[in-house]
Symmetry: C2
Subunit: 224 residues, 2 copies
DNA sequence: CCGTTGTTGATAGTATTACTACCATTTAAT
DNA sequence: ATTAAATGGTAGTAATACTATCAACAACGG
């Protein structure tokens, strides 16, 4: 049994949270709290109380809650890219590769205790609801320069690359990849909260399959 | 010369800002300030100082800054739908109608003094950067019940309707419409701040045409 | 012309947030 | 055993997101 963990950019934290008990506790409980309260209502104070620590201690790990959020979300994208790599490895046929990418994106996540201490289902909800808040800020450019968005950009590039393999002449592989990546998160969110914006009905079982059909349709038709 | 203005849902405000000088001032300057500072840094205090009024007075118009943001963004979607209606009126051919829709979505906005007191270019930037913050909150369901997202849902429905006219059998008209609406805002934002996520290069002149080509490609290929 | 009502301005106050600073204690490493 | 690192505890600050109260000044109807 391998416990999977990923080293993320040092610019994200003051002290690496994966190295200490308190650090891991911070990550673990922030994930749960952000999911429950939403990012706006989530504070270091509440987190500190929850884990029986203090605000000051948390600030020793993360400069602010914005970087903590990016940390969590970067973790998700890194993990997703890892998963995709793992599954397209050794597959030669480009179309098949692309289908696997999309399938992995849409796949219903499960809690796998082998993957660190993180519940991927919760993580997925956080990414759906909070991802865009990481870069829709006035500090985008500074954050980007620090490499805080590398995991997402890397995943996008990977998918764009696979698209290029299927259709070398296609003009917009990166745009299509980023559009699909966002769409996948949004369609699930809409299904749940704003159903008129989507044709995918909220259904914990069937929605993922239907999402796959939608994305496959958009991607393969667009590049053909 | 007609000054165009739209009546928005009463649930958005305490007192209708379009009816008084102070109200119009609030809208006018919030738009400028949200654009300049970003929504997080924007406060009623700063706004009050800017327009030579007080926090208390602003609270007489808007319950909080969240509703003010929704107000501004609802205005934008309402105006965009109006514009689309205006231009697809009397056009019979469904494909032509859909093309006009997309063209109007992508079109470079200009400052038209006939449309109230609002600079649409600024508005467009705000929508690009802040729109998702209106619904990615824990109060989505409550806000939705109050009808705060009607203008966006209505526009989405309209485009889905046109898609249906072109391709009556297509399974995902709403999903495709909402995906494209978001993509249009995001691709421009990426072009500017996260260029590796897009194949559209930042260029105040040419980017809109290229965006149109992208969206036309995605939409027409997907539904064919 | 008076009295009522509505709108704004001015001021004040509160709970919470997002930090920073400093010191004491525990723990781990040499 | 000594030292350094990690944490906890406490305190404090500026700013935010409000709420409440009161006075000034229109505007309007009788």
């Amino acid at each position: 049994m391998t416990i999977l963990s990923f080293k993320l950019s040092e610019n994200l934290y003051v002290r690496d949270p994966q190295e200490t008990e308190l650090g891991r506790n911070i990550i673990d409980h922030s994930i749960k709290m952000v999911d429950k309260l939403g990012f706006e209502e989530f504070t270091f104070k509440k987190l500190a109380t929850q884990i029986g620590s203090t605000e000051a201690s948390i600030y020793r790990y993360f400069e602010n809650k914005h970087k903590l959020l990016i940390y969590i979300i970067d973790w998700y994208w890194t993990w997703l890219e890892y998963k995709i790599d793992f599954h397209i490895n050794n597959i030669k046929d480009p179309s098949e590769r692309l289908k696997i990418c999309l399938a992995k994106l849409c796949e219903e996540k499960t809690f796998d205790p082998n993957v660190a201490y993180v519940d991927e289902r919760v993580l997925e909800r956080i990414v759906s609801a909070e991802f865009e808040k990481t870069f829709l800020t006035k500090q985008v450019d500074a954050d980007n320069k620090e490499g805080l968005f590398l995991p997402y950009k890397s995943l996008c590039k990977k998918i764009a690359g696979v698209i290029k393999q299927v259709s070398p002449g296609y003009e917009f592989p990166h745009s299509l990849a980023s559009t699909v990546l966002l769409a996948m998160k949004h369609q699930l969110y809409y299904a749940r909260h704003l159903p008129t914006l989507s044709d995918i009905k909220y259904d914990p079982k069937k929605q993922y399959k239907r999402l796959y059909v939608l994305l496959e349709n958009i991607v393969f038709k667009s590049i053909q």
